[in-house]
Amino acid sequence: MERSKSIKYDKLTAVFGIAASSIALLSLLGWMTGWLILAKIGPNYAPMPIVPAVLFLALGIFLYIYSRKIYSKWNYVLAGVLFVISLVSLLIICDEFLHILPDTVASPFIGVFFLLFAVTFLIKIIYPENNKYNNLVSLLSLGTGYYGFSFILSYLLGKPYLYNSEILPVALNGGICSVLLSLGLLFIAGPDSIVLRSFIGKNPDAMILRKIIPLTFVAVTSGSFSGYFFQNIIEINYSIIVSLEIMLISGLSVLIVFNITKTVFADSKRIYEENIVTNAEIAELNKNLEKQIGEKTSKLVSSNKGLQSFSYSVSHDLRSPLRGIDGWSAALYEDYHDRLDDKGLMYINTIRKETQRMGALIDDLIKLSRLSQTEVKIEIVDLSKIARTIEEHLKSLDSGRKLEFLIEPGLTVTGDKGLLEIALNNLFDNSYKFTSKKEEAIIEFGLDKSKTGKVFYIKDNGAGFNMAYAGKLFGAFQRMHSQKEFPGTGIGLATVLSVFTRLEGNIWAESEVGKGTTFYFSMKKD
């Protein structure tokens, strides 16, 4: 859509270019055929000299070529020609003081136009897509347009610039060509440049500007012209002219204000109506959305129910064959151990150990799957208290291990007590397990003051792990050590991650092999 818009404006530029060229061509024809009226327009007006006619013709064609993008490969040639034209214009201006050229070559005033125009066109060619320069081009072309219009206005008032002076006046068709070329350049700057942008579109300011600019033109032109008309042609009293003019201008002003008010009101009405439509659309969308959410929720509820019955089946049905395997291998041991050699007895032992592990795995899996089903109740939770309870429990296991706990008192967090208990239990169990090969296990729990926000840590001096595998740490069934080194199901930390995901918190770890691991966690709400 943007593209088609700029193509539309490019077409306008082409039309303006052709129009200016045609007027200039007419003047040239006038000079060639001797029908000077073609170069003059009015019988008593100054004719357009040959040099400006050639320049207007060339510039009009250039605008056309540039806007149609026919020979864009030759743009640098165009730039060169424009540079030459600006030099020629400079010469025309300076000749007023140098007197090298014949007096009738061109008016220095039209020289000023050519210079400005050529430079502006050059800027456009050198920086075709730069917004800043496009704005400059549009402003400059607006300036040259006004400049050209002032010549036309002077003719309307019957007092062309510099008539009867020594300096050559600008022809009326020269003024018209200037305005046409400037408009062409203005449109080539594109609809996004500052001048056109302020005019087009549905914005109220652009709409007002569209109304007010033509009306002021009409007011100024008609006001001035009528003044001239009454004074010079009908020759009535000057004060009557002034009062008539005031009447005319104030009448037009009333018209302008009326028109603007209408525009603004129509516009706000339009916006209001569009909003009503939009509101209705939003309501419709919301309704659809609610319906969709409802459907999704019921699907989710049923899939959650499915999950619940699944974990129920797992806990109930997977467990009983396991009990069978364990029970009957125990029976085998008890009733037939005297008929088995050591190897056979070891096999039985292995079967039972593996069965136990499978049982633990099922239990942990069920705990993990239940996490997502429990409801979260947010409250202030005393983490230090939970940690001390865990400390007591671990010490009561009476493993003969030397354990030291360093628990910072009074640490609280906003979260769900049950879930945080599960997480801390798993984290402490983890530390307890991985410090089992140390002479003395030191497990610390506290608030890390070096980090921004409330970041808690659980630090141990255990086996640690290689940080290269840190990405796998919280995955279910992922383990960093062999069963022989440290037995486990690989679900504990997945459970911890699940807790912090549900509580919208974060958990991460830092570790060094042989030195220990530190787990950090933080809550979003703190």
């Binding site: 129920y312 806990s315 467990r319 009983s320 009990r323 069978g324 364990d326 029970g327 136990q356 499978m358």
Partner: protein, 146 residues
């Protein structure tokens, strides 16, 4: 007087045999009657159907009831027992693999006397059976028969 029986309602043969074995290894000498589904268990207790001719006063000293059973599930069996004027005082203990909180809660809501979750570890299972037998057969005073 003849020793009262222990009624085990369990559909899993392996589990039933393991329980039998555990009882056999303990000092408990009461006969263990094993029934495979809830419907048969109710017929046995109410002396109907297959067991129509059974002595109505011959009630088990304790019932071990699995929750997941064919035909009539454990919880329904429990509810029917508690609503039967002749059976309602019978000690019923759930013996099951489930540790589903809702199962435990519903069992107690319907007046169960105990809930044992069968551990995978056979040694611990046998411990549990032993403790159970000692308690219900020796320590506990059985309800009077109405």
């Amino acid at each position: 007087m003849k020793e009262k029986i222990i009624l085990l309602v369990e559909d899993n043969c392996s589990d039933a045999d393991l329980t039998k074995r555990a009882f056999g290894k303990s000092k408990i000498k009461n006969e263990l009657v094993v029934l495979g589904d809830g419907k048969t268990a109710l017929e046995y207790l109410q002396c109907t159907g297959e067991y129509a001719g059974r002595d109505k006063t011959d009630l088990p000293i304790v019932i071990l009831l699995d929750i997941k059973l064919p035909l009539v599930d454990g919880l329904t069996v429990l509810k029917i027992i508690r609503n039967d004027i002749r059976l309602r005082r019978l000690p019923v203990v759930m013996l099951t693999s489930s540790n589903e909180e809702s199962d435990i809660a519903q069992s107690y809501d319907n007046g169960v006397n105990g809930f044992i979750r069968k551990p995978v570890d056979t040694a611990r299972f046998e411990e549990a059976i032993l403790a159970f037998g000692l308690y219900w057969l020796l320590v506990n005073e059985p309800p009077p028969i109405s």
